[in-house]
Symmetry: D2
Subunit: 333 residues, 4 copies
């Protein structure tokens, strides 16, 4: 059994890791931290996890965690992960960081996130979009992608890699769980219900990841919708030349051959079909007499857009079956 630790076990990313890892056939969940709840039973703070986890939350002690873990998931806010990653790496433990701290080169990180990177080294983290980065298998530090970039990049990567794309406008709609467990004006039910709220309309930082991976002209605007989970990304793709739907589908099928978590859909993708799962559903629509193609992708932001992809990366890193612990259908209805 592989021993796993989680730093930051009370956010949505943390409890989703727990939900998935307690069912994982090859994993022994050994330690979960929380400063706020240390000493309390995890299943008391989050009753849906009873009786699947016996552990109590512990304070963060990277040395101690590294000793008891073969792999550590760092599920703390952006800017805090870099406090722990160096210490963990120094102990020789494998790390998957779910924050943004290692997704970009340090200089780019500092420019985009407008803060000093506290890690003294420039670490070679692999960007953990598993389908596109097989080198995850060799990594000892994986930077798990942002939720929006996961759905956006998977939606258009086949077309971009084929050199067909001149410009993309990503218009994304996310369930509010992406904003975390902390109550806020936006997550206040009377404000979000019967509404849809665009935010960081021209300045969301996730666009940096998209541009890095895609290398074409990318625009991005996110919205939150009155749903708990899921991200639907509508990618308005402008092609260098018009293509038929069949040609495009062939490109996608070839590109994603053997990638079992990407499902090409004939119909329209839907948040329902991926609810609770690690799938990314993709559908293609071609506009008649136009250079526009619309690719829609649907993911569960907390699974494929977060904790599930992290476990998928772990599976690849440890030579397990890529689907281990992640192979189940969505919750419909």
């Amino acid at each position: 059994m592989i021993r796993a630790g989680i730093i930051g076990g009370t956010g949505y990313t943390g409890i989703e890791l727990i939900r998935l890892l307690v069912m994982h056939p090859e994993i022994d969940l050994a330690v979960v931290t929380s400063r706020r709840y240390k000493g309390e039973k995890v299943s008391k703070v989050y009753p849906h996890l009873f009786p699947f986890i016996e552990l109590e939350y512990e304070d963060v002690d990277t040395k101690e965690i590294a000793k008891r873990s073969d792999i550590v998931f760092v599920a703390v806010p952006h800017g805090t992960a870099m406090d722990y990653v160096p210490g963990l790496m120094a102990q020789g433990v494998t790390v998957i960081d779910l924050s943004a701290d290692y997704r970009l080169k340090k200089a780019e990180y500092e420019r985009v996130y407008k803060r000093k990177h506290k890690d003294k080294e420039e670490r070679e983290a692999v960007y953990g979009l598993t389908e596109l980065h097989p080198e995850v298998a060799e990594a000892d530090l994986v930077a798990n992608p942002g939720c929006y970039p996961t759905g956006a990049i998977l939606a258009v990567a086949p077309l971009v890699k084929a050199g067909l794309v001149s410009q993309v406008v990503f218009d994304s709609k996310s369930g509010i769980s992406g904003a975390g467990t902390e109550p806020s004006e936006t997550s206040h039910f009377p404000n979000l219900a019967e509404n849809i709220i665009p935010y960081k309309i021209t300045e969301h930082r996730h666009v940096a990841e998209m541009r890095n991976e895609l290398g074409v002209k990318v625009s991005f605007t996110p919205h939150v919708i009155p749903s708990i989970r899921g991200i639907l990304t509508t990618a308005h793709v402008f092609l260098a030349e018009e293509k038929k739907r069949e040609e495009l589908e062939a490109i996608y099928k070839l590109f994603y051959a053997g990638k079992r978590f990407v499902r090409l859909r004939e119909g329209t993708p839907s948040l329902s079909f991926v609810r609770g799962t690690n799938f990314c559903d993709i559908g293609i629509s071609v506009e008649a007499d136009s250079d526009r193609v619309v690719v829609v992708s649907a993911i569960d932001n907390l699974v494929k857009g977060g904790s599930g992809q992290a476990i998928q990366n772990m599976n690849v890193m440890f030579g397990l079956e890529e689907e281990a612990g992640l192979w189940f259908p969505g919750l419909v209805p």
Copy 2:
């Protein structure tokens, strides 16, 4: 024109008063207070009110307010209203208090709300359930009823007053706006969506108002539902003797004759039909071969259950048409 002031103009009760008063044909809204936002335009803090109100929020100064108002609505939290009411009354201004501070006799208030009442006098506030208390017309202080008691009492008053009731169980379901503007664990969208949450299951303080008004054995349990507005109350009424539906309907029709805000429904009441309005819709179901009758009432918690009823009381107090400013259909769908 009657000059109105609002103390506490940023909560849901306050902004609902504004929404209604700016459209009221006989009212000049003269002053609105907020400690937090003093000096800011009301319509900047609450953009839906633009351009219907020119006022800026002011700090609370009861003397100043009393000077510029013929009537003052006190829309501050329980326990705070009693800080302002004595000063306002001393200035001779008419007051409608939307908090719980004057709904019960002082001794009962202190027992139920577990705090000392700060008013030095035992004031003769009229309990402003308008349909049941015509003496509102003569009052200079009205204690506006709680949202739950409004729907619950109206549902069963005709049967109780007819001496038919041996026991009532009120099971109420409220939109989350009843919990206020402040984000909380309960109002956090991921917690409330796809859920229904009972709270204060055997100990909600509103039961005191119900018992006072009804004088029979009353049980009460509230829940919040994933909706913004509305309270649906399911009153399980146990009768001293079985009655036919027609007999019961006749009792209701007689009791509510001329009460235009109470609508007896043949079908099932629904939050939709009363959305945004001052109506209380009521429907009666009789169980076959049983002493149980179920009366369902639906109100908008912020209108008939709060600010609308306050304005209805004002209309009665000032000799206006009872429906003035409140006579419009609900927002369906």
Copy 3:
């Protein structure tokens, strides 16, 4: 008093006309038709309208309706309106058609809607986007705009008319009431809740209206969201040259000067702020170092996107105050 008739009084557009017209100070609602419910009281079929309307639904008889009406609102499905409009016009009555039947020239209509236009004449209907078409004042037939075009065109018209725009991608999100009163797979609660569904992704017919009015390169993709009312349109606008936010705001302010239903917002528009109202809220975001500007508009699809705008047009046509019957704040929360 102006006498109004409604052909098609059971759809959402029809009952929204009723909701607004019964409160309109200059209107006497004289006749409402429904084949299905003829002979039944309107307020029995739609209880929220009790007791605001005494009428019973009548069968459609254009001669009879024209005799009893000064203006007729045609609120029947696309393809059916053209059955009634010629007869009404022949009687000399003023008509506002809320369907798509008269929004496009006949040839274009037949191409876009893929059906034969049944009207024998090419009528000179004025496209009733009131803010952009003052010639509504002289019209005897107004083609009320589609819900999506209303929000989309208002969002970008100032920039387009200033010659600044090279391309627009409209990504619209609509409440499900736009799909009508008839239950369907899409409107089935378990399918739509916790979801967002794109549809007619590259082929929605409303794009024809947008292109007609704007005359620039336009792409359009609609989605339905788990909300009842409202359309939020995210307009990704690509400019011929970069502009500062202040310059753009100045353009909008000038363009919409005196247009009281268009509200330029400093913050982000929201469906909540316009709920139940005839407002169109607009907000502008400029992307740094980019040719992209994002303009977000929010309307209530049934009011400004339908029945409200129809009444606004009627007001203009009859020389009433443009805001008559439409001047009230939104339902927040």
Copy 4:
């Protein structure tokens, strides 16, 4: 491996059986029927099941199904199951019927459901409330309980069996998935969102099951709430004598000792905690100075209230671990 068949594989009960059975370690799902979709791939009709099931829907042929199955789940509407059960039983196959057809004695069934029972025999079906009926282990026909009775009976059985209860009022709130896959007025999003709808207020047929199992005075009123899944039942229990919370908890703990799907909660049960699971969460509240105790239960109507409990019964019938295929945490958030 045990071979399972499903008659009626397109309703919510049917697809939930599939979702769970394809992951069950001891089950080989051998046949799924649908008259409407025969010949089509299950995973094409329900894309969330791709690629977990290869089967195509087949027409119903009880002989053929019995030959290829060790157990058959009958998941067709009330009144139809009795068309298939006799034929299946005649072939010697084990049957779990998820409809109401075998939950009551024939005479009672005919009285409650107001239709003739078509089965010629009075079969000895075991009522499959697994925690209360260990004789399920010996059954060859199990009548799976209704969704409401499951939550209601589990909530109060310990008190009733202890002889403490004089009367119970069950006020239940259900997600709309309980009403099935067919779009209807009630499930139409604009009607249910922002609403809560009581129905069959004094006459829901499930009360018969509750009375049979409990044998005390029972009242029952169901509501649908704007949620997809889950039933929260608020049981207002009137005791013969007042009891302390500690005494009641001790009774529950003893009663449900070893019943791992029943979780006694210190806090309030919530639909979220049981979402997608076979758990029944129960919480107890004691009213001060009163004979009323409120017991709240929460289940997922499609799992513990339907397909999950059916599988739990199958596990017991076949001597498998009772939790097999059902032991996983809920989907939170």
